[in-house]
Protein backbone atom coordinates (compact mmCIF):
# COMPACT_ATOMS: atom_id res chain seq x y z
CA UNK A 1 0.00 0.00 0.00
CA UNK A 2 2.81 2.38 0.98
CA UNK A 3 4.77 1.47 -2.15
CA UNK A 4 1.67 1.93 -4.32
CA UNK A 5 0.87 5.32 -2.75
CA UNK A 6 4.50 6.43 -3.31
CA UNK A 7 4.25 5.43 -6.98
CA UNK A 8 0.94 7.32 -7.33
CA UNK A 9 2.48 10.41 -5.70
CA UNK A 10 5.36 10.50 -8.14
CA UNK A 11 3.08 9.78 -11.12
CA UNK A 12 1.00 12.80 -10.06
CA UNK A 13 4.13 14.94 -9.65
CA UNK A 14 5.39 13.91 -13.10
CA UNK A 15 1.93 14.49 -14.60
CA UNK A 16 1.74 18.03 -13.22
CA UNK A 17 5.32 18.76 -14.34
CA UNK A 18 4.39 17.64 -17.88
CA UNK A 19 1.26 19.86 -17.73
CA UNK A 20 3.48 22.82 -16.70
CA UNK A 21 5.84 22.11 -19.59
CA UNK A 22 2.96 21.66 -22.07
CA UNK A 23 1.26 24.86 -20.91
CA UNK A 24 4.28 26.89 -22.00
CA UNK A 25 5.73 24.85 -24.87
CA UNK A 26 3.05 22.62 -26.45
CA UNK A 27 -0.02 24.86 -26.35
CA UNK A 28 -0.01 27.65 -28.95
CA UNK A 29 -0.32 31.33 -28.06
CA UNK A 30 -4.00 32.27 -27.84
CA UNK A 31 -5.27 35.00 -30.14
CA UNK A 32 -6.92 38.15 -28.79
CA UNK A 33 -5.03 38.28 -25.48
CA UNK A 34 -2.18 40.48 -24.27
CA UNK A 35 1.12 38.60 -24.66
CA UNK A 36 1.07 35.16 -23.05
CA UNK A 37 -1.52 36.01 -20.40
CA UNK A 38 -4.02 33.44 -21.71
CA UNK A 39 -1.72 30.58 -20.63
CA UNK A 40 -2.91 31.13 -17.08
CA UNK A 41 -6.16 29.42 -18.17
CA UNK A 42 -4.35 26.05 -17.78
CA UNK A 43 -4.08 26.69 -14.02
CA UNK A 44 -6.91 29.13 -13.27
CA UNK A 45 -9.73 26.99 -14.70
CA UNK A 46 -8.61 23.72 -13.02
CA UNK A 47 -8.33 25.56 -9.68
CA UNK A 48 -11.87 26.90 -10.06
CA UNK A 49 -13.04 23.40 -11.10
CA UNK A 50 -11.41 21.80 -8.05
CA UNK A 51 -13.04 24.43 -5.80
CA UNK A 52 -16.46 23.44 -7.20
CA UNK A 53 -15.66 19.72 -6.69
CA UNK A 54 -14.54 20.45 -3.11
CA UNK A 55 -17.76 22.30 -2.31
CA UNK A 56 -19.75 19.36 -3.76
CA UNK A 57 -17.79 16.95 -1.49
CA UNK A 58 -18.48 19.31 1.43
CA UNK A 59 -22.21 19.10 0.66
CA UNK A 60 -22.22 15.29 0.47
CA UNK A 61 -20.22 14.91 3.71
CA UNK A 62 -22.45 17.47 5.46
CA UNK A 63 -25.64 15.61 4.45
CA UNK A 64 -24.05 12.35 5.61
CA UNK A 65 -23.18 13.97 8.93
CA UNK A 66 -26.76 15.19 9.39
CA UNK A 67 -27.96 11.60 8.85
CA UNK A 68 -25.30 9.69 10.81
CA UNK A 69 -23.77 12.20 13.31
CA UNK A 70 -20.45 10.48 12.61
CA UNK A 71 -17.64 12.92 13.64
CA UNK A 72 -15.52 11.66 10.74
CA UNK A 73 -18.15 12.93 8.27
CA UNK A 74 -17.92 16.33 9.94
CA UNK A 75 -14.13 16.19 9.55
CA UNK A 76 -14.57 15.20 5.88
CA UNK A 77 -16.90 18.18 5.33
CA UNK A 78 -14.46 20.59 7.02
CA UNK A 79 -11.51 19.21 5.02
CA UNK A 80 -13.40 19.61 1.73
CA UNK A 81 -14.55 23.15 2.58
CA UNK A 82 -10.99 24.13 3.55
CA UNK A 83 -9.65 22.85 0.23
CA UNK A 84 -12.52 24.54 -1.65
CA UNK A 85 -11.58 27.81 0.03
CA UNK A 86 -7.87 27.29 -0.75
CA UNK A 87 -8.50 26.59 -4.45
CA UNK A 88 -10.99 29.49 -4.67
CA UNK A 89 -8.28 31.82 -3.33
CA UNK A 90 -5.79 30.41 -5.84
CA UNK A 91 -8.30 30.83 -8.68
CA UNK A 92 -8.92 34.42 -7.56
CA UNK A 93 -5.17 35.12 -7.36
CA UNK A 94 -4.44 33.69 -10.81
CA UNK A 95 -7.47 35.52 -12.20
CA UNK A 96 -6.14 38.77 -10.72
CA UNK A 97 -2.75 38.25 -12.38
CA UNK A 98 -4.54 37.73 -15.70
CA UNK A 99 -6.65 40.86 -15.08
CA UNK A 100 -3.53 42.93 -14.33
CA UNK A 101 -1.82 41.84 -17.56
CA UNK A 102 -4.99 42.02 -19.68
CA UNK A 103 -6.89 45.00 -18.29
CA UNK A 104 -4.23 46.86 -16.27
CA UNK A 105 -5.71 46.33 -12.81
CA UNK A 106 -5.77 43.39 -10.38
CA UNK A 107 -9.41 44.08 -9.50
CA UNK A 108 -12.04 45.47 -11.89
CA UNK A 109 -15.32 44.81 -10.04
CA UNK A 110 -16.25 42.44 -12.83
CA UNK A 111 -19.36 40.29 -12.04
CA UNK A 112 -17.22 37.15 -11.95
CA UNK A 113 -14.69 38.75 -9.60
CA UNK A 114 -17.48 39.94 -7.31
CA UNK A 115 -19.24 36.56 -7.38
CA UNK A 116 -16.06 34.64 -6.41
CA UNK A 117 -15.42 37.20 -3.63
CA UNK A 118 -18.93 36.56 -2.26
CA UNK A 119 -18.37 32.80 -2.52
CA UNK A 120 -15.12 33.19 -0.54
CA UNK A 121 -16.99 35.11 2.16
CA UNK A 122 -19.78 32.49 2.26
CA UNK A 123 -17.29 29.67 2.91
CA UNK A 124 -15.09 31.79 5.21
CA UNK A 125 -18.25 32.24 7.32
CA UNK A 126 -18.51 28.42 7.47
CA UNK A 127 -15.20 28.34 9.35
CA UNK A 128 -16.14 31.34 11.51
CA UNK A 129 -19.26 29.38 12.51
CA UNK A 130 -17.20 26.28 13.32
CA UNK A 131 -14.83 28.33 15.47
CA UNK A 132 -17.68 29.95 17.39
CA UNK A 133 -19.28 26.72 18.70
CA UNK A 134 -17.44 24.73 21.38
CA UNK A 135 -19.70 21.66 21.64
CA UNK A 136 -18.59 19.14 19.02
CA UNK A 137 -21.99 17.72 18.02
CA UNK A 138 -23.68 21.11 18.00
CA UNK A 139 -20.80 22.51 15.92
CA UNK A 140 -21.06 19.64 13.45
CA UNK A 141 -24.83 19.97 13.10
CA UNK A 142 -24.81 23.76 12.66
CA UNK A 143 -21.88 23.62 10.24
CA UNK A 144 -23.53 20.87 8.18
CA UNK A 145 -26.84 22.77 7.99
CA UNK A 146 -24.97 25.95 7.00
CA UNK A 147 -22.96 24.00 4.37
CA UNK A 148 -26.19 22.80 2.71
CA UNK A 149 -27.45 26.41 2.51
CA UNK A 150 -24.04 27.70 1.38
CA UNK A 151 -23.95 25.16 -1.45
CA UNK A 152 -27.18 26.60 -2.88
CA UNK A 153 -25.33 29.88 -3.53
CA UNK A 154 -22.38 28.17 -5.27
CA UNK A 155 -23.93 27.25 -8.67
CA UNK A 156 -25.66 30.64 -8.74
CA UNK A 157 -22.43 32.54 -8.08
CA UNK A 158 -20.16 30.39 -10.26
CA UNK A 159 -22.38 29.55 -13.23
CA UNK A 160 -25.46 31.81 -13.30
CA UNK A 161 -24.22 35.32 -12.43
CA UNK A 162 -21.43 35.36 -15.06
CA UNK A 163 -23.98 34.36 -17.72
CA UNK A 164 -26.53 37.02 -16.77
CA UNK A 165 -24.32 40.11 -16.70
CA UNK A 166 -21.91 41.50 -19.23
CA UNK A 167 -18.39 40.57 -18.17
CA UNK A 168 -14.79 41.37 -19.08
CA UNK A 169 -14.05 37.69 -18.45
CA UNK A 170 -13.27 35.61 -21.59
CA UNK A 171 -16.11 33.20 -22.40
CA UNK A 172 -14.04 30.40 -23.95
CA UNK A 173 -15.09 27.86 -21.31
CA UNK A 174 -18.37 29.02 -19.81
CA UNK A 175 -20.54 30.74 -22.40
CA UNK A 176 -24.12 30.98 -23.53
CA UNK A 177 -23.59 28.64 -26.50
CA UNK A 178 -22.52 25.82 -24.16
CA UNK A 179 -19.45 24.94 -26.22
CA UNK A 180 -15.73 25.18 -25.42
CA UNK A 181 -14.18 27.67 -27.83
CA UNK A 182 -10.56 26.58 -27.69
CA UNK A 183 -7.83 25.33 -30.02
CA UNK A 184 -7.43 21.53 -29.75
CA UNK A 185 -3.88 21.53 -28.29
CA UNK A 186 -4.93 24.11 -25.71
CA UNK A 187 -7.93 21.95 -24.84
CA UNK A 188 -5.69 18.87 -24.40
CA UNK A 189 -3.43 20.77 -21.97
CA UNK A 190 -6.44 22.18 -20.13
CA UNK A 191 -8.02 18.73 -19.69
CA UNK A 192 -4.65 17.32 -18.58
CA UNK A 193 -4.37 20.09 -16.02
CA UNK A 194 -7.94 19.52 -14.80
CA UNK A 195 -7.09 15.83 -14.29
CA UNK A 196 -3.82 16.71 -12.50
CA UNK A 197 -5.40 19.26 -10.17
CA UNK A 198 -8.28 16.88 -9.43
CA UNK A 199 -5.67 14.27 -8.45
CA UNK A 200 -3.92 16.84 -6.27
CA UNK A 201 -7.24 17.62 -4.57
CA UNK A 202 -7.98 13.92 -4.01
CA UNK A 203 -4.55 13.46 -2.45
CA UNK A 204 -4.83 16.56 -0.21
CA UNK A 205 -8.36 15.57 0.81
CA UNK A 206 -7.39 12.01 1.73
CA UNK A 207 -4.39 13.27 3.75
CA UNK A 208 -6.60 15.72 5.66
CA UNK A 209 -9.17 12.99 6.38
CA UNK A 210 -6.42 10.61 7.57
CA UNK A 211 -5.10 13.35 9.89
CA UNK A 212 -8.62 13.91 11.25
CA UNK A 213 -9.07 10.15 11.77
CA UNK A 214 -5.81 9.99 13.77
CA UNK A 215 -6.92 12.98 15.90
CA UNK A 216 -10.32 11.34 16.52
CA UNK A 217 -8.75 8.02 17.54
CA UNK A 218 -6.39 9.84 19.92
CA UNK A 219 -9.24 11.73 21.52
CA UNK A 220 -11.31 8.54 21.89
CA UNK A 221 -8.33 6.85 23.58
CA UNK A 222 -7.88 9.80 25.95
CA UNK A 223 -11.59 9.83 26.81
CA UNK A 224 -12.00 6.07 27.09
Amino acid sequence: MTRLSNILVWILGAWLAVVCWAAFHYAPTAQGFVGESARIVFFHVPQAWVAVVAFCVNLVASIRYLRTRNPLDDARAAAAAGLGLLFSILATATGSIFAKVMWGSFWNWDPREVSIAILLLVYAAYFALRQSVADEERRGTLAAAYAVLAFVTMPFLVFVVPRIYWSLHPDTIINTSGTIKMESRMLQVLLGSVAGFTGLFAWLYSLNVRLARIALRRRQREEG
Binding site: T2, S5, V9, G13, L16, C20, A23, F24, T29, V34, G35, E36, S37, R39, I40, F42, F43, Q47, L90, A93, T94, I97, F98, K100, V101, L200, W203, L204, L207, N208, R210, L211, I214, R217
Partner: protein
Protein backbone atom coordinates in the same frame (compact mmCIF):
# COMPACT_ATOMS: atom_id res chain seq x y z
CA UNK B 1 8.37 36.06 -29.69
CA UNK B 2 6.28 35.87 -26.54
CA UNK B 3 5.67 39.06 -24.63
CA UNK B 4 8.27 38.75 -21.83
CA UNK B 5 6.51 40.51 -18.97
CA UNK B 6 3.20 38.60 -19.19
CA UNK B 7 5.02 35.28 -19.75
CA UNK B 8 7.17 35.91 -16.68
CA UNK B 9 4.15 36.65 -14.48
CA UNK B 10 2.13 33.68 -15.68
CA UNK B 11 5.09 31.30 -15.38
CA UNK B 12 6.20 32.60 -11.97
CA UNK B 13 2.73 32.45 -10.41
CA UNK B 14 1.78 29.06 -11.80
CA UNK B 15 5.10 27.38 -10.99
CA UNK B 16 5.12 28.80 -7.44
CA UNK B 17 1.55 27.54 -6.89
CA UNK B 18 2.30 24.12 -8.35
CA UNK B 19 5.58 23.60 -6.48
CA UNK B 20 4.07 25.04 -3.27
CA UNK B 21 1.04 22.76 -3.34
CA UNK B 22 3.06 19.68 -4.24
CA UNK B 23 5.65 20.37 -1.52
CA UNK B 24 2.87 20.88 1.03
CA UNK B 25 1.32 17.55 -0.02
CA UNK B 26 4.68 15.77 0.37
CA UNK B 27 5.12 17.30 3.84
CA UNK B 28 1.60 16.28 4.87
CA UNK B 29 2.10 12.81 3.38
CA UNK B 30 5.26 12.27 5.47
CA UNK B 31 3.55 13.64 8.61
CA UNK B 32 0.47 11.42 8.23
CA UNK B 33 2.63 8.35 7.67
CA UNK B 34 4.77 9.15 10.73
CA UNK B 35 1.65 9.60 12.89
CA UNK B 36 0.06 6.40 11.58
CA UNK B 37 3.23 4.43 12.25
CA UNK B 38 3.42 5.93 15.77
CA UNK B 39 -0.06 4.66 16.67
Amino acid sequence: MPETSSLFWVAAVTVVIWVGLFSYCLYLHARVRRLEEGE
